[in-house]
Amino acid sequence: MTMELTNYQIILLFAVGGFVAIMGSLVTSWVLRPRRPNEEKLTTYECGEDPTGTAWGKFNIRFYVIALVFVLFETELLFLFPWAIVFGDEGLNALTQGKWGMLAFVEMSLFILILALGLAYVWGKGFLEWEKPDVKVTDVESKVPESLYEQLNTKYQ
């Protein structure tokens, strides 16, 4: 039996096929595995302590800002893709004596530069900075003289 599938039917086949394969193995595992739940097993893991509250709380707003910057750049990318496959089109270039490619390139450069400005802005404003750990340098009074360390370091270089 040969069946001609269209491109997106094949993609659907992959999605459904992958789903079925995993469901199949999950069901096999469901048949095989034991079911002996108890209260201790069913607690959320929190390093062996009883969990305090739920995890569903607030967290850093930076995640949100990063996601926001991402959405805007993703939108930029989606405009670049259709452009990328036509700006060097030989047929169009021959038709316009090479002006097409030049025009498309300049137009898109403008587009990219405007958005690069946005990147520069958020960069300058420090939104791309994540909190850095404070490195605490502790002075340790060591009885071992410095030269011994030096000796060791040079030995294993």
């Binding site: 997106y8 039917q9 607030k58 996601a67 259709p82 036509v86 700006f87 946005g118």
Partner: protein
């Protein structure tokens, strides 16, 4: 002939899925579940785009809406969650205005769809030797150039505006 039948079948399947998941969003009390149901809505809409030969738009729908905007919404919901945790529940308020608004919208759609349903022909296959995506690219560079550059400016404005608004929160934290 059979091809078209399959397309119509798939169209109604995905349209149904979109409507059902949209209803589930309304019915669900758990707001996080609602956001995740939105994935299904967007996916079915993307599938409908693809069925109607708007391949690029469909994939873009997945990439930008699911991969981008939905993540943003999830982060938004998760950020606004109460500190004491617990499930965020939605409730129904202002039922009468909502019903009126819904009926009004339904009427608008109904009157628009009195003309021949534009999707019924499943989009013309591109007559040129260019593919749909290439046609989109060429149009960006020629007919829609101003729109494209304006989009860039708009995106820039959105970025700066959003960064500015979030910036005040940032200052608080420090």
């Amino acid at each position: 002939m059979e091809q078209i039948n399959f397309n119509i079948l798939a169209f109604y399947g995905f349209a149904g899925l979109a409507v059902i998941s949209a209803l589930m969003i309304l019915m669900s009390k758990n707001i996080i579940h609602s956001v995740f149901m939105l994935v299904l809505v967007f996916l079915s809409v993307a599938a409908i785009y693809i069925i109607t030969n708007a391949e690029f738009v469909g994939v873009t729908q997945i990439m930008v809406y699911i991969g981008g905007i939905l993540i943003l919404m999830m982060f938004g919901v998760m950020l606004t969650n109460r500190i004491d945790g617990g499930k965020m529940l939605t409730e129904h308020r202002r039922i009468i205005p909502a019903v009126l608004l819904g009926l009004g919208l339904a009427f608008v759609f109904y009157s628009t769809l009195q003309t021949k349903f534009p999707l019924a022909e499943f989009g013309p296959q591109s007559e040129l030797d260019k593919s749909v995506t290439e046609t989109i690219g060429i149009n960006f560079m020629t007919h829609q150039l101003v729109a494209l550059e304006l989009t860039a400016v708009l995106l820039l404005m959105a970025l700066i505006g959003a960064a500015f608004l979030a910036g005040s929160k940032f200052e608080d934290k420090k």
